[in-house]
Symmetry: C2
Subunit: 232 residues, 2 copies
């Protein structure tokens, strides 16, 4: 009997996290997926996360409730308008209003708690420094600092029984490279959802930063996006 | 008109956090207190936190709901028995079962998000490395690593407009020193609550690690504990 190594995978339901999950599975991990209900406008993402977890028959999919709205400060949780039809230059020029304060830090902290509980030495997160250069908590130097902190935070780390690794397989990829990787690994991108501002029918808007990056990624990868868009 | 510097203070309702709050106020900060409803057995702490925040007429007291029970792994959230009447040696010999995986990391992550939202450059946390040497996330090297990570995590940090500081005024104090400091600053310790395993009447048990440390601290400080204990 072989016992697989466990990992916690942060699964938002978007294209990136679905690909990171596929990489973790391809590397032979037993996957414990973790999602968050945090007051996001695009809660349809959670439905995508559920479908992806189901499609892969994952060991466990835990949805944690946290109320980031109590803290506020982002177009993804507040009644701030999500910007549309921005150019690449506009997207890369500053940290966008869709940035949620310390979101990845909060998500990784919960993943750390669960990893310690599961005696997992790995966490996978689909952050990407290239296409989302505006988000401070997607950069390699941030991930490294979190990993360093995490290894001082836990019982397992302090007692030397665990050396936690934050795996970021997509961090240096372009969106097109992420999509090509996922397709090679058999990811069904029709299950994923990336839109910041879906309609009441749950369809992606096709015009927010996230949709534009996704559509451009599929175009550059030379593949059609299997997702249905509003008005498309 | 003077504008006070803001700080987020993690307020559990216990003796340590109440003292850390008093230190922050004495240093002239405008205090935003943050507590967590995390499935702890000793939810009576939250009532203490509320009374303390009220007594000081704080700017704001935010109680954030998070479900650590979904993750599990501690006597404070699970149905594991809280150990009683342990000696100092027993307490210091290993990380106790009351340790909650990554708890301070999760709490500090939320504090970081709120601090960024409030443009506060300071967080106060009443951790103590001396009397709780068994908790990895109460040590100075952990706090330093968190601070380093935090300054790479946020928009304000990256844009150089903020340098976050995690203030730990109690980290090197004995329990008796903490109590003496608090009494000097006028802390009403009858409002605080430290027991890991209060009775249904809300009274402290007087026998868990936390109660024993508290009672010993008051004895060493040469002051009576104003708290009522079960059977006392």
């Amino acid at each position: 009997m072989t016992s697989k190594k466990r990992t916690v995978v942060l699964l938002s339901g978007g294209l990136d996290s679905a690909t990171a999950l596929a990489v973790a599975l391809a590397e032979g991990f037993e996957v414990y997926a973790m999602s968050f209900r945090y007051g996001q406008r695009h809660a349809v993402e959670l439905e995508s996360a559920r479908r992806i977890a189901e499609a892969y028959a994952l060991e466990k999919h835990l949805v944690v409730d946290i109320d980031l709205r109590a803290i506020g400060g982002s177009a993804l949780t507040d009644q701030i308008e999500v910007p549309k039809r921005r150019s690449s230059l506009e997207m890369s020029s500053a940290i966008p209003v869709t940035y949620v304060p310390a979101r990845n830090t909060i998500f990784l902290s919960f993943a750390l708690a669960w990893a310690e509980r599961l005696s997992a030495q790995d966490i996978f997160i689909g952050v990407n420094a290239l296409d989302y250069s505006g988000y401070p908590d997607c950069r390699p130097e941030y991930i490294e600092a979190f990993e360093n902190m995490a290894n001082l935070a836990t019982r397992e780390g302090v007692e030397g029984r665990m050396r936690l690794k934050i795996n970021t397989p997509l961090i240096a990829m372009t969106k097109a490279e992420i999509i090509k990787t996922g397709i090679k690994l058999g990811v069904d991108y029709s299950l994923t959802h990336s839109c910041y501002d879906p309609g009441v029918d749950g369809l992606a808007c096709g015009r927010c930063d996230s949709c534009l990056l996704r559509l451009r990624g599929f175009a550059e990868a030379g593949t059609a996006d299997p997702l249905r868009y509003a008005g498309g």
